[in-house]
Each structure stands twice: as C-alpha cells, then as structure tokens.
Amino acid sequence: MSDELKYLSDRVARGLMNRRAFMGRATALGVGATMAGSLLSSAAFAAGPQKGGILKAGMVGGESTNSLDPATFASQVPFALGRCWGDTLVETSPTGDIVNRLAEEVSASPDARVWTFKIRSGVTFHNGKTLDAADVVATLRRHSGEDTKSGALGIMRGIETISQDGDNVVVALKNPNADLPYLMSDYHLIIQPNGGNDAPDAGIGTGPYKVVVNDPGVRHVGERFADYWDAPNRGHADQFEIIVINDATARTAALQGGQVHMVNRVEPKIVDLVKRVPGVSIKNVGGRGHYVFIMHCNTAPFDNNDLRLALKYAMDREQMVDKILRGYGTVGNDMPINGAYPLFDESIPQRSFDPDKAKFHFKKSGHDGSVLLRTSDVSFPGAVDAAQLYQESCQKAGITLEIKREPGDGYWSEVWNKQPFCTSYWGGRSTQDQMYSTAYLSSADWNDTRFFNEKFDKMLLEARAELDLAKRKALYSEMGTIVRDEGGLIMPMFNDFIDAVSDKVAGYNVDPGAELMNGYALSKAWLA
C-alpha cells in the first residue's frame, strides 16, 4: 500500500476524513472502488478500539430482586453486569480456548490433580486494594464452603483444598480433572477483595468498569475504572448502561428508537423483521444451550428403554428447528453435546424422525394408552408449541401424547426434576465433563433424567483424569452414544444466541459461550 493511501485510510479511521472523501481520493490515486472499500475496513479494524461514549444495552433477565453478590447470580443481567465490574482467573475465548486473566499462568501436576494459578501482579481493585493470592483463595473458599449458597457450588465440590503459596494459589482436587481451568472461568467466580467476605454485594472487583448506579431490575450504570490492568483491550466506553427491558417488543423498540445499542434474546419469530430495520444487525451464534424433553429413566412407563426409544424416534428434529427456532439453531442428537464442545465426535450417527421404528419400539415396549408430557413456556420459549408439534409427530407413529400445561410460576420447583416427563432447557457448560457431571452422573444433583449407568459413571471419571486427548475423545464419544441410545433425554435442538446490535457499535464478535459476546460486549466492543 502506498504511503499516501495508508495516510488517508488512517485519517478515516480516526474520524478526520469521511468515507466519501476517502473513496474519491483513493480512486484519484488509481485504486479500484472495491479495493478502496476493503482498505477502509481493514484500516478501521487496525485503528483499534475507540475510547469514549456511553455504551448502552437493553436486556431481558433482570429483576428487582437481583443482588451484586456473584454467588447469587442466576439471570442474564447480573451475569453481564458481573463481566463489567469483575474478572475471573481465566476465561474461555470465542474458539473455546482458555485465556489467562487474573491468573498469569496456569499449570497442573502430571496427574491433573493439583493445579497452580500464578496470580497477576499490578492489578488493583476499585477500592484501591492490590490484588493478591489471599483474595483469590478467600473468593474460591467463599464459593465452596460448607455454608455457601453460591450457584457455583456444584462445580466447586470436587475441590479438596485451596491454599496460598506466595503469589500462587494451589487448588488440590479430590480426583484428577483435566478441565479445572474451564471450571474456574465460571461467571460466579469473580475475584473480590478478601473474597467478598466483608461485603459480598459491594460490587467491588478488578473489572474495566466501576459500578456507579445499581438499581436492580431497572438500570445499572458503570464508569471506566482508571487503573484497569488491561485497559488497551477492555472498557472502551466512558460509561456503560444496562437498562432492564424484559418485554421483547419494548426491547426491540428501544433498539429501533436508538435508546440502546444492543439487545439480547431477540425472539426467533421476529428476527426477520428486525433484520429489515435500518442501522441494526442481527448477531447470532450457535452455542451449547439446548431445549430438551426429559424422561425419568427410573419411573414407569419411562423405565422401559423401548418406550424411550419410541419417543426418541417420534421426534421430528428438523421440524422443531424450522418451526420453533425459525432456523436459528441446529438439530440435536439425543445427547447434550454438539460441535461447540471441544473433543466432540462428529461421526456419531444423527437420529432422525422415523415413525416406523417408533411404532416398532412402542409395540415392543408393551405400553398401553397415552403418555403424559408436562410443559410450560418458561421451560423454553415456544415450549408449548413445540409440545404440540411433537404431539402431531407422535400421532404419526401411533403414539398418543397427552399434553399438560403447567403454570410457569413454580415450574422449576414443582415440575422440572420432579415429574417423570416434561420440557426444559439447559444453558450448556464449557466442557463435556462439566455437562455430564452436572446432569448425567448418577450422583448429580440435577440428574433430571434419573440416568443411572455404572459404566457411564466410570468412563466419566476415567475421561476426567485422562490427559491424552485422543483417548479422551474416544471415551466421550462412547459416553455420548450411551446417553443417546439408553438415556432419558430427547434432544431436538440446540438454540442459537440471537443478539441485535446497532451499527454504531464496532468490535462486536459473537462468542458461542453465551449471548452478548459471552457477556463481554460492554467491555470488549466500542462505539465507532
């Protein structure tokens, strides 16, 4: 590129020259229009993030009952807000790799039982305190202690001891686990001064923004933290603002009216309408979240594997993705894992709708009469419609499905994990081990399919300690097949995360980890 061109595109990127003027000057230098256009976009990217402005997000998933205590985080707004004011030891990148954050170095003993995290130096909390290993130890202990109420307790249970060794934090596990760094990237595990034991909901962290206004269920505002340790890469806006807009129509209207720059959870049925709005683009990414129909493998009539198979073959997965997700998703294969997970085996055959096989297994099961499915729209968006579609496809296989619509209020306490056949969703986890340990291990608290399989349990523990990736992949492949053929999970679809973003925002790269760039949109993206 000539120096002249470089100079010109640089000027555009800094906002000193407009696009039209650039195109004119570039053409004058004998460069074609297409070439000039691509020069321009690469220059904008190379110029890097621009600082300043107020970046606003309109989000569903905030309640007036939310707290800033990371242990209580359960919905989308606290999740995204936590990403703004806090940091975790490590993160997952959009490609699924581990990125060191507050941990400068992560190393494991050869058997993957003892893990050492070297804590980054020169990091300050918003209250001026310098981060040290003691804060990390206290944080991890607060989330794993006997009397904790942390949402991360489930993943912390495998830890035996947490200790400090100078600048290092040493985590010793009860059993080897090659995936421990992934567990440490959990969004609850925000490092707080003294572990947050003094003031768990103070909102003091090491993140790129300081919390200025915390009005739960209404709005949250933060301003750039001057002493942020990773300032070149995060926290580009002067201020961020999250406005809680739980109503889908209001959220879209706010984006259209220019009151917010990004919104989460665009409903699949309106995506095509939103696409037509000028100045707005849809950012969707296939993730690990999935919608499920779950049967208890130990409760009649679902204790019969032939009946389970019959119900699996009676599911028209393509239709579900088309009608319920409007194409914004991918078909499932009766196991909770897809290509978004590391070490996924693509060669496991895809199960498809087969009324004849369904009929065969239904007859073989000897079940007489109808099957009762409980559902509610809280279990996942469109669940009631999905249940009706499923009822029709079951009909084609000669199975009578009875649908019982349950009240949304109380669904998670009275129906899910209690009733033998219902609809539900899973947000997915960062690794196969985590997903299976959370819901498919015999001893798992949330074994919502009541799946008790000794061979599977043994293989799960074996895979966890296995550092040879090829061997691990083979183990996971076999485990996936067991769940697919013997489990109580009917898995029609993986749903995409669908965000809508204003053209004023730059640096927006989707992340399969979660919506809004895995919650980092407000700190990683900027106003162009």
Binding site: E63, N66, A74, K149, D215, A250, G257, W412, S413, E414
Partner: protein, 319 residues
C-alpha cells in the same frame, strides 16, 4: 365541621384499618399457598439441596408461618418494613423509590385525564346527541375498549419508533433532569389517560344529563343563562358525587393497576417490583406492596364517600 361528620370519618378510618389487617392476613396466607419458597425461587434451576438448606436457614424460613407473620406485624406497627429476603435490600428504601415513581406517573396521568374527562363530559352534554357528543363518546369508548398493551404498542410504534418524538423506554432515575423525566413519562402517561378517560367522561355526561331533567335547570334556562353556565353552575354541583366516585376509582387504578403499562414502557414503578417479588416468594416485600396498594384503594374510597356526603346536604343529616 359538624360532629356527625367527624364521627363518620372516624368510623370510616377505623374500618379502613381493620380492612388493612384483614388484607395483610389474606396476602400472607396467599403467598404461603404458592408452590415453592423464596430459597427455591432465588436459586432457581441451579438449586442444590445443600445450597437450599443453607439459604433457608439463613433466611429464617424454618420458623413456623404464624410466628413469621407476627414478627412482620410487629415490625410494620413500629414503622419497620424489614429487609427483602431475596437480595437483602432495605424494603422501605427500595419500595419508597418505586412508590414515588408510581405516584409521579399517576399524578401526571391524573392531572391530564381528570380535567380532560370532565371537560369532555361537559362538552358532550352541551352538544348532547349531536355530532360532537357522538365523536367524543366514540373515540373515548374505542380507547377504553382496546387493551392497554395495544394502545401502548401503537404509541410506541408511531410516536417513539417512527416519529421519534418521545423515548419508548421510560426508565426514570434519581437526579434525572425534570424535562427529561417528563419526556420519558409522556407515552405511559398518554396510554393511561386514554385508558381511564372514557369511564370518567361517560359518568360525567350521564350524571349531568340526569340532573338536567330537573325542574330547576329548566328554570335556569328560562332565566336566559348561557347553556354552559347552566351546566357548570347549576347541574355540575349536583352531579359531583357520582363523578367523584368514578374519579377516585380511576385514580386508584392509576396507582394499583398499571403493571402492564409499566412492563411495556419499562417504567420502574411498584407493579413490576411486586411481580418480581411474587415470583421470588419474597413475602415481606409482597406484604409491604399489598399493604400500600390496599391503603391507597381504601383511602381513595373513603375520600369519595366523604366528598359525596359533604356535597349532598341530605346525607349530612341522617334521620
């Protein structure tokens, strides 16, 4: 003020307090009947048995229900609403903010809608059965017949998205400049006005028309008074009791019945606050909100009664 009225007001107030007490028991029993508890609701799908047990113990949910009720009653009598179970915030503080938002919106909606409704009612009477009367009735009845969320969405689409005159998101906060605040509440205020207008306007029209049949109105007309003067000075004072009644009912609606409008315009009022806490089974907050709603309803009704009595000398001297 005559002793009779004082006695009457005292009676009403005492009854109101009794009613409030009854309401508090009802709300408490109602929340107990709901499935699940606050610990379950806070932890949601990610609840583990240990976390549940720890949280229940921490929140004191293991005590019997009646003890918790009397604890709460003792608190409220000493002016202490307690803290929210779900996020530990002080209820009086967070509720106070929401309540003042709700009252702010209700006040402006009332300032616009009440005079407008009465004026339209008077105009309709003056042109009764004519084109203007029919037009007023048709428009206001149409707006009351449409569900409020539909009116809200229509306003959002045309006024906020297409014309961009006012914001569609009405989030208000402390320290917001007054003109920005007014611009933020413009659309919810307009929606509420359209919803309550017809009821008040129709009642004004009917009550005045009723009075207009009386002989003294004919006298006034025969005296040669202007039609508007007849209506305003002679008919209106005698029709005031039923009108005040309806106005009070609608004012109560503006405070307690606006959840849907709050959701559409993302207005941080009491309605959304209450819904959030019901779904979290946060009983102290639900109780506090319920008490405030009940108090507003009861006191507005008392005011309506008293005005009716004061406005009508016949009721002031019961036989």
């Amino acid at each position: 003020m005559s002793p009779a009225i004082v006695k009457l007001i005292a009676q009403r107030l005492a009854l109101g307090v009794l009613l409030l007490l009854a309401v508090s028991v009802l709300i408490f029993v109602g929340t107990q009947l709901l499935p699940g508890d606050v610990a379950q609701a806070i932890l949601g799908q990610s609840a583990t048995p240990e976390a549940l047990a720890n949280l229940r113990a921490e929140l004191g949910l293991n005590e019997p229900a009646y003890l918790r009720y009397f604890d709460w009653l003792g608190g409220i009598l000493t002016g202490d609403l307690g803290t929210a179970l779900s996020n530990g915030q002080d209820i009086s503080e967070s509720l106070g903010k929401r309540l003042s938002n709700t009252l702010f919106l209700a006040m402006w909606a009332a300032i616009v809608s009440v005079p407008l409704a009465i004026l339209l009612g008077l105009v309709a009477v003056q042109h009764r059965n004519g084109f203007i009367d029919k037009l007023i009735s048709a428009t206001t009845l149409t707006s009351i017949s449409l569900p409020e969320f539909f009116i809200g969405y229509l306003l959002v689409y045309f006024v906020a998205v297409e014309l961009q005159w006012f914001p569609s998101v009405s989030t208000v906060y402390d320290g917001m400049p007054f003109n920005e605040r007014m611009s933020a509440i413009a659309l919810p205020c307009a929606t509420l006005t359209l919803v309550v207008l017809a009821h008040m306007m129709r009642m004004t029209r009917a009550a005045i028309l009723n009075v207009m049949q009386s002989a003294y109105i004919e006298t006034a007309e025969l005296k040669g008074l202007s039609p508007f003067r007849v209506i305003f000075h002679h008919a209106f004072p005698n029709a005031i009791a039923p009108i005040v009644n309806v106005v009070m009912l609608n004012l109560a609606f503006l405070v307690v019945g606006v959840v849907v409008v709050e959701v559409i315009f993302v207005y941080p009022g009491m309605g959304q606050y209450l819904v959030d806490h019901v779904s979290k089974r946060d009983i102290p907050v639900v109780q506090a909100c319920g008490m405030i709603f009940a108090a507003v309803y009861i006191s507005l009704n008392i005011v309506a009664d008293i005005v009716a009595i004061v406005a009508n000398p016949r009721l002031r001297h019961p036989k």
